[in-house]
Symmetry: C2
Subunit: 239 residues, 2 copies
Amino acid sequence: MTPLAPDPDVLRGLRLFAGLDAAALAETVRSAQTQRVEKGATIFSQGDPATLCHALIDGRVKIVQTGADGQQMVVRYIGPGEMFGTAAVFAGGVYPADALAVADCVAIHWSAAAMGVLMERHPRVAMNALDIVGRRLQEVQTRLREVSTERVERRVAHALLRLARQAGRRVEGGVEIDFPLSRQDIAEMTGTTLHTVSRILSGWEAQGIVEGGRQQVTIRRPHALVAIAEDLPRPLPPA
Amino acid sequence: MTPLAPDPDVLRGLRLFAGLDAAALAETVRSAQTQRVEKGATIFSQGDPATLCHALIDGRVKIVQTGADGQQMVVRYIGPGEMFGTAAVFAGGVYPADALAVADCVAIHWSAAAMGVLMERHPRVAMNALDIVGRRLQEVQTRLREVSTERVERRVAHALLRLARQAGRRVEGGVEIDFPLSRQDIAEMTGTTLHTVSRILSGWEAQGIVEGGRQQVTIRRPHALVAIAEDLPRPLPPA
């Protein structure tokens, strides 16, 4: 990890700093540090004291929680412009998960103390953070309901649609999820096994709904996936 | 729901207002409204615009989310001193769940606009809210991992231990969960069926680990429950 001087223009685009004027933005820049992180590196580890708030500028970060029994769950993928590790800093404890760079990344961080000062001086920053953490809470509650009550096929459909909204790139004939995503990753996002995910995706591939490579997923017929996720009558496959 | 004048002393005890001086606390009182809610009444409904931040002063509130397929999940139980409906207000949308009074309640609420003004004037309030919502996010992520990776017996043990920490009352020979709690409620907290919860609790009753009435659960041997939750070797039952 190489510290760099942060670029003021980059911070303007973060939701955390929405509504700040130029002087306030300049303050956020002065207390920030930029770092480059290579693909495969760990940015923080589960159980470490939560001392830094992070924002991702470029790349992709996977947040993974491991249980006492060694079983892993993908908490979420972080894309450019998103915060990570922030809730833990303000809940005042340890990071509840690992943050792993799944691509080469550029990230910015603030110490907990520096972020506290920014929030005291600019309550808008604290209120933006509350908006961000509040939306995540709602999203995780929805996932919890899905895992608790829905059959696995619907959960996998919901997970792929969420990733497409968050990190979808329009390509010819579909929407590609724009980062390396294995079937094991999907299993760890939806509370099921690799075997079950493989069976479901193979079925969907045969119906032309998705197309997958080893670490890559393209959604060919998003409407069909929505129908599965919402338990609607399925549209007919193309003739 | 009968509006009342709020009691200033009561607000002092809320974590949301920790660290405020007397003048700031007086401001929070001026913009608050107190209401009495009868057992069984709905405080807000899933899908309603999130216009009010609530704090519970007395009683017990159940937060329940319903999926498009009609299946329900208990998101959490709210006890005295806790906020509810707050994340939705700051995520700026609709309430993602119902809030139901499971006992006679006294609650306080602020309009979203009034709470926004309090946070702008007293950033400490926004930072306290961030701490509260951040801890809930961590708790829900942990539950999501449990539901995704643990077998159902461990999930039920974790759920009962969480309720005991949140609402446990020491009684002779154990810890009683201090509000009406049915086996169906436990099923909806842990993503399983009434049948499975009944089978597990009957087994634990036979081992003297818990004791249950129709709407009531007492934990007789908390250490045995921890051993199940954490998958440790079980202590022997008392001779």
